[in-house]
Symmetry: C3
């Protein structure tokens, strides 16, 4: 590997790192925009603290849990040490052909917080701040790196006879967040007034420009999320990934547009926004494997699924204020299965491996989330008091309003 190519590869990985970083702002904006003004400070607080928490815990333990290297034992769990130990040749192609040790760490660290950020949306407007941050600490610092290792760290999902395939994390990142989200939302129960007398009452988001900003920033960052997962600047591979990513997002918008118009007879901007995200999550597992038409199909189906996902979770009274479970869990599963159906890897063996990956990671994440959230619920409690929920978390947990100069309707 020439110094030139090494430098280029490393440069692209650093740019991709910055792009993944800005996705955290995307999540903050999306979640704040789709919830009520009285809980906005709380959302912003969580989404500012979580990336900081993710970067620090990933430096202390997460990176070593996810990429244990020689400390690897048995395929399920291993810990290389604590903190970041610079290996010899850390800044040369001796370490890796694509990037330095620090680039490796920081790119992965930016991903780490995503799992908790996804949960944040589903449990919004009613969860206590302290318990949520405690859950995030464990989920980002321990749960995510362990299941991430199963594939990306060379664990048992990577050594199946037909290895499980998850290019940039439909399962490893998005469904991990989605499982935590569904458990959290279930144990918390719905927001006051959401389901009354057997009827679902929509609680509209308070700032749709903010939500739109969020989705565009997520799409923007996803070029780094998927494009960086090539782990080099290889022109053919990265440009293919850019195209499949953009096509799937676009097709997802139309899938959700058509499905929501068919269902609700209205042009619902929140569905189209979630459709874009659905397309992105759906293509993530196989972004480097699909032809253009396949990306369009995968994204379009994702866009349809997100609409019916939202409707279905409302039917079973799992209240997810931003649709995170439908976007990240439902489409995360769909995108992972799609690798067994479309593209170069398609086949029964692959489809079964995809199922194994989805299920094993799902079982672990459900168990982990349930234990942590349930223990918190039974001890310090996870839900704010009713009066606080009605008045808003901002004034009660933070002592401030997000928009103090404006008159509100309530």
């Amino acid at each position: 590997m020439s110094q030139e190519l090494f430098t280029i590869n490393n440069l692209w990985m650093m740019v991709a790192t910055i792009l993944v970083f800005i996705m955290h702002l995307g999540f903050a904006a999306l979640e704040a925009g789709l919830t009520r003004a009285k809980n906005t400070v709380n959302i912003l607080f969580k989404n500012t603290v979580i990336p900081a928490l993710g970067i620090l815990t990933y430096a202390f333990i997460g990176f070593n849990l996810m990429y244990p290297g020689d400390a690897f034992e048995g395929g399920f769990f291993g810990l290389a040490g604590l903190g970041l130990d610079l290996p010899d040749g850390w800044d040369t192609s001796e370490y890796d052909e694509g990037y330095t040790f620090f680039t490796d760490f920081i790119f992965q660290a930016m991903f780490a917080a995503t799992a908790a950020t996804i949960v944040s949306g589903a449990v919004a407007e009613r969860i206590k701040l302290g318990p949520f941050l405690f859950f995030s600490l464990l989920y980002v610092g321990v749960c995510y790196p362990i299941v991430g290792m199963w594939k990306w760290g060379g664990g048992f999902l990577d050594t199946l006879s037909t290895p499980f395939y998850d290019f940039a994390g439909s399962t490893i990142v998005h469904s991990v967040g989605g499982w935590g989200a569904v458990i959290g939302a279930y144990l918390l129960g719905p927001r006051l007034g959401k389901y009354k007398d057997g009827k679902m009452n929509a609680i509209p988001g308070h700032n749709l420009p903010l939500a739109t900003f969020g989705v565009f920033l997520l799409w923007f960052g996803w070029f780094g999320f998927n494009g960086g997962s090539v782990l080099s600047a290889s022109p053919g591979e990265v440009s293919l990934v850019f195209v499949t990513t953009a096509i799937a997002a676009s097709a997802g918008a139309f899938g959700a547009l058509f499905a929501s118009y068919a269902k609700f007879k209205a042009y619902d901007i929140t569905m189209v926004l979630n459709g874009v995200l659905a397309g992105l999550v759906s293509i993530t597992a196989g972004a480097d494997q699909m032809a253009v038409w396949e990306s369009a199909v995968i994204g379009f189906v994702g866009g349809i699924l997100v609409v019916f996902g939202v409707v279905m979770f409302d039917k079973i009274k799992i209240d997810d204020p931003v649709g995170a479970i439908s976007v990240h869990l439902v489409c995360g599963i769909w995108g992972t299965l799609a690798v067994g159906i479309f593209g170069d890897l398609a086949g029964t063996g692959q489809f079964i491996s995809q199922l194994i990956g989805i299920l094993s990671i799902g079982v672990f994440c459900v168990a982990f989330s349930f234990i942590v959230f349930f223990a918190l619920k039974k001890t310090i409690g996870i839900r704010v008091p009713e009066a606080e929920e009605l008045e808003g978390l901002d004034i009660n947990e933070h002592g401030m309003h997000a928009y103090p100069d404006f008159a509100t309707k309530e």
Copy 2:
């Protein structure tokens, strides 16, 4: 070409692609910010759907219309096929010295939707959603690629004895949008209450931070729009383009500041914001041809023109809520002519070629827009009913409000 240089060039084109992508968020924010709160969801909806539409139609037909290659016939029109056919050596310098086939496609695809996004601003707050999306489909999928081919696809404007010059699209992108905007705004008529008893009543934008975000994001993305139009990472050329772009934007801000202060005796933020965009549109045609002082002059004049453009279109009662026609059409023409006046290509022959390009593209776009909008007007109608316009498009076309928690003044 070494593999290293090919990889660098491709990397820059991909980064430029992402930058152009985020301009769509810039347009969404600018247009939403400069219109009223009751029409915000509608603007956001259009500006989310249009880039998705642009990417998909460009994959299906636009790219093949704009770069017909061997299918090219007669200089005016050609179609290479439908969908994206991977050529041999698509991911090597055999295809192009700067990038892969997929990079070529996706960079151009991000430009494609811009034409319709510009129109969106001028027709805002009164156009029906369905007809607008239908117009966008045809304008982005057919009109833009055809006129784009005339120059960038090697068509007749490229084979003039002194070839028409339009580096990154003052005419090919911005004036195309501008012509559609002026026809749409004319056929729709002004918003209710804008011109009453021979007087112009300003209808202020509802969220100026949002508008400011839009302009900064557009400026940010423009470094990719112009810088990527070098079609390689060539250090001298790209850095020159960065400088001319930044200088023209800055000078545009001051041109508009001085002109609007002279005219209105107030420091009007919307004029300064449009001045930045005016400078950017003005330099786009010759961003690789100008010296620093020439960029300053071109941008400064653009900033002045945009102020007088806004005043003039109000005089003839063409109601353009965001000033899109002045920014993209007036300054698009000015910037294209400036290539015949300043820089290395200056000269009578070039000036005439610039006029030919402006006029031929103008005639085609005016005719195309007029036919489509007029046909829609005479059949399904293009304007929402009066009651709907007064109440707002959001609640009538989308069944939702952009800011449901806040009390409004009306």
Copy 3:
């Protein structure tokens, strides 16, 4: 140097340029979000005009003042000429191994306006527009390039026996802004109602999502601010800087979270946001010198300092609406001193050099700011009339409201 490496280095510097550019939007959003709705247009106006002013003045005089080259005289002051004169070999490694002349200029130009943008926040909600722009013109065009030259242009701070070290500008950029901020805020006096009957009355910011956007965009851009200050794409150095930057920002968030919780018993989002910035400013002077744990300590201490800084300046009745003085001056000094305490350069000699740099630049900036602001105060005045301050600067200086469709509380 191969053409390939030159092209890569130049590419990274251009990407870093764009990242620094978007920090101006970050400042605009942060300052607008942390002040009142009635002064929002004024903040946006200043923060749009200042970068434009910065780029133009830097082209005309600033760049030649800061990098005088052969015109350099005596170590304190030199002027290479006016305007941008292309040197021979400007676009090759003959000019520089990292980038072209134009890249050099535009990267530095993006930094230039920062000094005035920092001041803008501290003097917000009561300064007259004209005098502020005049101050900015001199501060960005003259003061900043002169002190910048002392180190980065090879001046006397660079030729001390143990040279002063300021990697990306904790002192040279941030404290320069901070000194102007403290002088401006002092000469203006506090906002009406801020300190009454010996009590401090918090004046809450009107839009916390906007403030959050600002901080994330600043963090995002800081990867270019610090990462670009490597002045090449050198994989080891840039990736180290990315890691120290991200770790310090994260630790800063927690430092401020803990300190503000200890002090106020509330989870104050504005403190956490300023904590992120505190961490970033603190690591800027030594971002290429620190180990991971050292970055964490430096950032964490910065986060604590910013909380106590805000409290202290309120005690001495220096009213800084956005906390700019604590972030940029206090943490700028802390970060610069930290280079003498932590990392490879640590030592008494270095610590003394750091003090010399901080003090000499501080004295010059204080004198410069005082003379300019005092002269303006004694002639045309720097503070808006009381009635205008109460009603808001937007309607009085700009004739418009930032959010005309919404009902306000006052």
